[in-house]
């Protein structure tokens, strides 16, 4: 192939370098500001990009009880419970749909795929959740998004690739459907279950509008709503909200940045696991559907 010119290589490097900086710099600024000392912050008049006197006071203030601590537990709870329920419902539905020719196979498949085409709309969704008595209930953040048809289709495609002889021989040995799903299909599908589980988890952790729509009492707020109120809307956060025992509250900006770090951290922690599957080409299959 023709040698690329030095200019072209340089230009490409520049674009990629700037792109990466645009992602990394905000994270870095948020992190360093959350651990900088109050003196450094007042000296800099806001953001600090390098700290010589790191302190975890802001984290202590935020995590020693109070609204952020509670919101963190709520978000963690919804994410764990929601992901578990979603995985069970998605796996069982995908498995049932991976056995062509079974009763109602076609209509159920069509019904599932069809949900990708339309969206019921905000108002009817709200009224439905209200009619079902789920307002101000954490289930309202889970049940409406319990099953994502796209994930069902992806998982079904993987189940369909498992050799039929494997299942047949298990049937011969008298195993039932549930046993086959648990003992044969799932162990062979760990990767796709992991990826789809991670996608559900990220979605539950990030959910913001459903919480704003369905939860009325502030004490039920998940982290994203706390983040909106105290960081995006800049509502002052004081000892009333933090119930902190610290004598001096850390500067507002450190507290805000600490909340931001706490909400980003779980995503950063699971990101390598999501990434592990990029290489296997799994994601491409998933994205293409």
């Amino acid at each position: 192939m023709g040698e690329p010119s030095r200019l072209a290589i340089g230009a490409r490097g520049l674009v990629l370098g700037l792109g990466c900086l645009a992602v990394v710099v905000p994270f870095w600024a948020v992190l360093t500001t959350s651990i900088a000392s109050p003196e450094e912050i007042s000296r800099a008049g806001g953001f600090v990009l390098w700290t010589r006197e790191p302190t975890l006071d802001a984290y202590r203030a935020v995590l020693s009880g109070g609204i952020v601590t509670r919101a963190l537990m709520v978000s963690a709870g919804i994410t764990v419970v929601g992901t578990a329920l979603s995985l069970v419902a998605t796996i069982t539905l995908a498995y049932a749909l991976s056995r062509p020719g079974s009763l109602l196979h076609k209509p159920i498949l069509l019904m599932t795929v069809f949900t990708l085409l339309f969206n019921p709309g905000i108002i009817p969704m709200y009224l439905t959740v209200k009619q079902l008595g789920l307002l101000d209930n954490y289930l309202a953040l889970i049940l409406p998004v319990l099953v994502n048809a796209f994930n069902v289709i992806v998982m079904r495609a993987f189940f369909l690739e498992i050799p039929g002889e494997l299942l047949e021989s298990a049937f011969m040995d008298g195993a039932g459907e549930v046993r086959i799903l648990l003992r044969i299909v799932l162990p062979l599908s760990k990767a796709v279950v992991a990826v789809i589980g991670l996608f559900y988890a990220v979605a539950y952790w990030n959910a913001f509008f459903s919480a704003m729509l369905y939860l009325q009492s502030p004490e039920k707020w998940p982290l994203q709503l706390v983040l909106r109120t105290y960081v995006v809307n800049d509502t002052p956060i004081g000892s009333d909200q933090l119930s902190s025992n610290l004598e001096n509250l850390p500067p507002q900006i450190s507290v805000q940045m600490a909340i931001l770090v706490i909400s980003i951290l779980p995503i950063l922690l699971i990101y390598p696991f999501i990434q592990k599957h990029f290489a296997k080409g799994l994601m491409v299959g998933a994205v293409k559907g």
Binding site: A44, G45, L127
Partner: protein, 303 residues
């Protein structure tokens, strides 16, 4: 009859397995569709769907008579879609071409990991990060202030709002959207490429005559999906920032529905606008798909 019973016995476990998922889809995708009936009612929450009076097409009046508030939301939606199709859509293609030309595998992996990351952050986090960087008390203005330079007002300026949300979309999703183009690029026929080199085609000509044609199907597919989604633009993203810039610059169809219905209590009109949006949305996907077939492309589904 007998075989039917056998079949039932064999398949009832499968049906039971499908039950939780099917119930969730019925309850939260199909049942709410029926709720759109309130678009034709003077819906009163205390009367409910069953007892609210029917009012014909009254709720569709803002749409039919071109009410300025509704038109503003529609125009904003279309402008944002246009901006995003023209300026946002091509970016991942360019980025994928750049990544694809990067020879060092390790460097490529590293940049990909960094650039994909923002996709997994919530809109609340992305908006918060942007404000902390560009807000009036943000990092950029902090620097300018400490250097005794005049500060930029970017956040909370209605005229710059569309620029702002476009930058956020670019920051969050350009990296992630390269995945599918990179996959297509990896299937470009090397023999064709070599033949082009032997024939003395320049880099630009190779790009135009070999690379781009081989990823055209994917580009068309994604463009269809984007156009089919013309009426939906970043609802969470916009609702988070609406208070700062006001409805004039930021109201889109989805926020109109939310603000008029859930916040304002004008349930009927909101549901009517939502219903029209949904129907036009489905028609757009089907129409765009048909256009793709007419152009000889695969589209989202075949037939």
């Amino acid at each position: 009859m007998h075989s039917q019973r056998n079949r039932w016995r064999r398949d009832r476990v499968l049906l039971l397995l499908a039950l939780p998922g099917v119930t969730a889809l019925l309850l939260f995708h199909y049942l709410p569709l029926g709720g759109n009936i309130i678009a034709f009612q003077d819906f009163q929450p205390f009367l409910g769907i069953w007892h609210s009076p029917y009012v014909g097409l009254d709720n569709f009046e803002p749409v039919l008579t071109g009410d300025p508030v509704f038109l503003n939301a529609l125009v904003n939606t279309l402008i944002i879609t246009l901006i995003q199709v023209v300026f946002v859509f091509p970016l991942p293609i360019c980025l994928a071409l750049i990544l694809n030309a990067t020879i060092s595998e390790r460097l490529k992996r590293l940049t990909q990991s960094i650039l994909y990351m923002p996709h997994f952050l919530s809109w609340v986090i992305v908006v918060a990060l942007f404000q902390q960087m560009f807000g009036n008390g943000g990092m950029l203005n902090g620097w300018l202030r400490s250097a005794d330079l005049s500060t930029f007002h970017i956040v909370g300026v209605p005229e710059l709002f569309k620029l702002m949300i476009t930058s956020q979309v670019i920051w969050k999703d350009t990296g992630w959207s390269t995945i599918i183009f990179l996959a297509a690029l990896s299937r470009v026929d090397p023999a064709q490429m070599e033949a082009a080199v032997v024939d003395g085609a320049s880099a630009v000509r190779r790009l135009w005559h070999v690379t781009l044609p081989s990823i055209r199907a994917v580009i068309v597919l994604l463009l269809i999906l984007r156009l089919g989604d013309s009426l939906s633009v970043g609802f969470e993203q916009i609702i988070l920032q609406q208070a700062q810039v006001g409805a004039g610059a930021s109201e889109v169809l989805d926020t109109y529905v939310y603000n008029h219905g859930i916040v304002g209590g004008d349930w009927g009109t909101a549901a009517a606008v939502g219903l029209i949006k949904g129907i036009v949305g489905v028609a757009l996907v089907l129409g765009a798909n048909r256009a793709a077939h007419a152009l000889g492309e695969q589209g989202v589904y075949t037939k």
